[in-house]
């Protein structure tokens, strides 16, 4: 008999820790375990949050004295703004919740795995490489308006690839909810977060392809003719809608699902008005209407009465309905506290504060679309995006702390996390609200110099920079608490998250 045994002890010692590291990395790269894929999405999204917030700090500092440049140079600024917006929406908001859904939803449904785990894995790598392509192209002067033509093509491909990755992840989540539920678990019995994941995923699947279609046109034109879409300079005018409202509303649906899920746990009771919560989450998905038509609709109180009614109706449809859905979810979730015996948990605080910030963002968007407010082209829109993205980030941190026992078999320190929630809240308000005020003062969007207005220009922009810095602190603090829990915390069973 041929003996092919190796000396286990000898080989293990010879290969050492380096080999174990390679094996571990290899396992992470090739894993089709839904929790690992979800954690990869979550980890890289948090890194992206740091990048976006650091850019926010730099923009805040640069805008302090708009008479001259201090940090950036003129050509780089519009491209870095594109990177900043991409990192906020496609680097943080969308993938963070896709990752949480991939990790959590199968366990809520009683399924062994997410549907098509290899597709989910492809989704992560496609999104990651797409995002890296965007980063590389912008660093090489290839962003929107950039001079390096080949890298502008790379930018367009990167955005499309990242969108394809998010679509793949969303497809897996939606298919899981529809087909992989435990026997007896009908759709009306699934947990609120899984419902929000279904609604959010389908909304994403219906809206992102419209963006990809636009990219196809822009890419073909850019690589061959440069006749139709304005070449490098015209990219943002055709793709900018995908990085702002109401597209961002589609990505915050799951953030509201987190609150709907966590509130009854905090109140230690069942949600008495569950169908209304599910309906509220579904109503938010009407944001798809605005996303696919690339329109938020401006409310113009002019013309005949018929014109006014038409304008109000369209404005309400595009801006009011998503707000109505969000308000229903938040109010009904809060009613839970009245029915039950609530205790203060960090996950609830984070998800509630996140939802409130999202409400301020959606309200701000409604205001932005009032013609009488004359906010078009001002930094007000940036403030709206920040409220939505950082609100979503707070909700996501709430979700991660809530499901930490499920994802990492550890519980994160509740008291310290509560402190972090307050820092995150302060950071979100400081990063966003001064931009609302500066918007009313006509501070122009997407520029860092050449503007002036009556009022404390430096103060608003310093406060914004401080807000972003606090968000950096919040993300780093959360990661530190998680590492501390992993290293020193006692193992917690998965049921502890229930």
């Amino acid at each position: 008999m041929t003996n092919i045994d190796t000396h286990v002890g000898a080989s293990t010692h010879a290969q050492g820790a380096g080999s174990a590291l390679v094996v571990s990395v290899g396992q992470w790269i090739t894993s089709s375990d839904h929790k690992k894929i979800g954690r990869l999405f979550i980890g890289t999204s948090l890194l992206s949050a740091l990048l976006a917030a650091v850019l926010g700090v730099l923009f805040g500092l640069e805008r302090v004295s708009p008479a001259h440049m201090q940090i950036f140079n003129g050509d780089a600024t519009p491209q870095l703004f594109s990177l900043y917006q991409f990192a906020l929406v496609f680097g943080v908001l969308a993938p963070l919740f896709v990752g949480i859904a991939i990790a959590v939803v199968p366990t809520q449904l009683g399924a062994r795995a997410v549907a098509f785990p290899r597709v989910a894995q492809f989704g992560f790598w496609a999104w990651l490489f797409g995002a890296l392509m965007v980063d590389v192209s912008i660093i090489g002067n290839g962003g929107p308006g950039g001079g390096a033509t080949d890298l502008v093509d790379l930018y367009l491909l990167g955005v499309a690839l990242a969108a394809v990755g998010l679509l793949a992840g969303s497809l897996c989540v939606a298919t899981s909810v529809l087909t992989a539920r435990a026997p007896g678990m009908t759709l009306d019995r699934i947990p609120a977060f899984s419902w929000s994941a279904l609604v959010g995923s389908i909304a994403t699947l219906l809206s992102l392809p419209v963006m990809i279609g636009t990219i196809i046109y822009v890419y073909v034109d850019h690589t061959h003719a440069q006749l139709v879409f304005g070449g490098n300079k015209g990219i943002n005018s055709f793709l900018g809608w995908s990085l702002s409202q109401p597209m961002t509303f589609v990505f915050v649906i799951m953030a509201l699902g987190v609150l709907a899920e966590v509130a009854p746990v905090t109140a230690r009771t069942e949600q008495p008005l569950r169908p209304i919560v599910l309906a509220g989450l579904a109503i938010i998905s009407t944001a798809v209407l605005g996303a696919v038509t690339q329109s938020a609709h401006i409310l113009d109180w002019a013309g005949t009465n018929t014109d006014k009614v038409k304008s109000v109706l369209l404005h309400s449809l595009f801006n009011g309905l998503p707000l109505l859905g969000i308000l229903i979810v938040v109010l009904v979730s809060l009613m839970c506290l009245k029915v039950g015996t609530p205790r203060i948990t960090a996950s609830f605080a984070l998800s509630l504060l996140g939802a409130l910030m999202i409400i301020v963002g959606v309200l701000g968007n409604g205001l932005y679309n009032l013609k009488a407010a004359s906010l078009d082209g001002t930094v007000f829109s940036e403030g709206t995006v920040l409220y939505l993205v950082y609100g979503g980030l707070l909700s996501a941190l709430g979700a991660l702390s809530h499901w930490a026992p499920l994802l990492w078999a550890r519980a994160i320190d509740n008291t310290k996390l509560l402190g972090l929630a307050l820092i995150g809240l302060l950071g979100t308000i400081l990063a966003s609200f001064p931009l609302y005020i500066a918007g009313f003062a006509d501070q122009p969007a997407n520029t860092v110099m050449g503007f002036d207005y009556d009022g404390p220009v430096a103060l608003w922009n310093v406060l914004t920079g401080v807000g972003h810095a606090l968000i950096v602190l919040t993300v780093l603090g959360f990661v530190a608490l998680l590492i501390d829990a992993l290293r020193n915390g006692a193992s917690v069973s998965q049921e502890a998250s229930a």
Partner: protein
């Protein structure tokens, strides 16, 4: 209470491929609808001028001298439902465990796909326009090229389902049904492209 159930034993998936294909098809339909809407937007925004006799207003969208070969386009429109019919035949056969007809239906679907690609290439050849010649030409190639890619995807689906069928996967009803759904989607998507690009121009 949050429901965090322990891992259950493996369940028989409930038409997972069909459901995923339906969602992906809806998503791809939005891609085509979005591109068609963009086409119509640019068409509506094209400049207008009076005709030489002053009786008509001409929209300068499709440049003079370009003729869309309507025969080839109409043949494509008819061919898509044939593909869907063959795919449905394969699904019908799969349900009755009729392996030879299932495989035959899938093979014909692939050939129908080839015919459609051939017709599209014929359209390109007969039109003889350059991609960079103008905005009509650029957008024409972008939208019809995207549709062509979706057809190639359908052909790949047919080929995979065919090989699985020939390989003896008799329980592949879900895959064959999903394949049929995809061909229905292709038919609907091309109907949109045909009306917007080849009829409305």
């Amino acid at each position: 209470m949050t429901i965090a159930l322990p891992a259950a034993p493996a369940q028989a998936p409930r038409r997972q491929i069909l459901v995923a294909t339906a969602i992906a098809s809806a998503s791809a339909f939005m891609l085509i609808i979005g591109m068609a809407a963009m086409w119509l937007k640019f068409r509506a925004g094209a400049p207008t001028r009076d005709s030489s006799d002053g009786l008509k207003i001409i929209k300068d969208w499709m440049p003079a001298g370009i003729t869309i070969p309507e025969v080839a386009a109409n043949v494509m429109l008819i061919t898509f439902p044939v593909g869907a019919l063959m795919a449905q035949w394969a699904a019908y056969s799969a349900k009755r465990n009729d392996a030879p007809h299932r495989s035959l239906g899938l093979a014909i679907c692939f050939i129908v796909g080839l015919a459609i690609v051939n017709a599209q290439v014929a359209v390109y050849a007969q039109m003889d326009i350059g991609l960079a010649d103008g905005q009509f030409q650029t957008m024409f190639y972008a939208i019809t090229g995207t549709m062509l890619l979706l057809v190639v995807g359908g052909m790949a689906f047919s080929l995979v389902a065919f090989f699985r069928s020939v390989g003896g996967r008799d329980n592949d009803v879900d895959v064959v049904n999903a394949h049929a759904f995809y061909w229905y989607f292709l038919t609907a998507a091309f109907a949109v492209v045909w009306f917007v690009v080849y009829v409305q121009k």
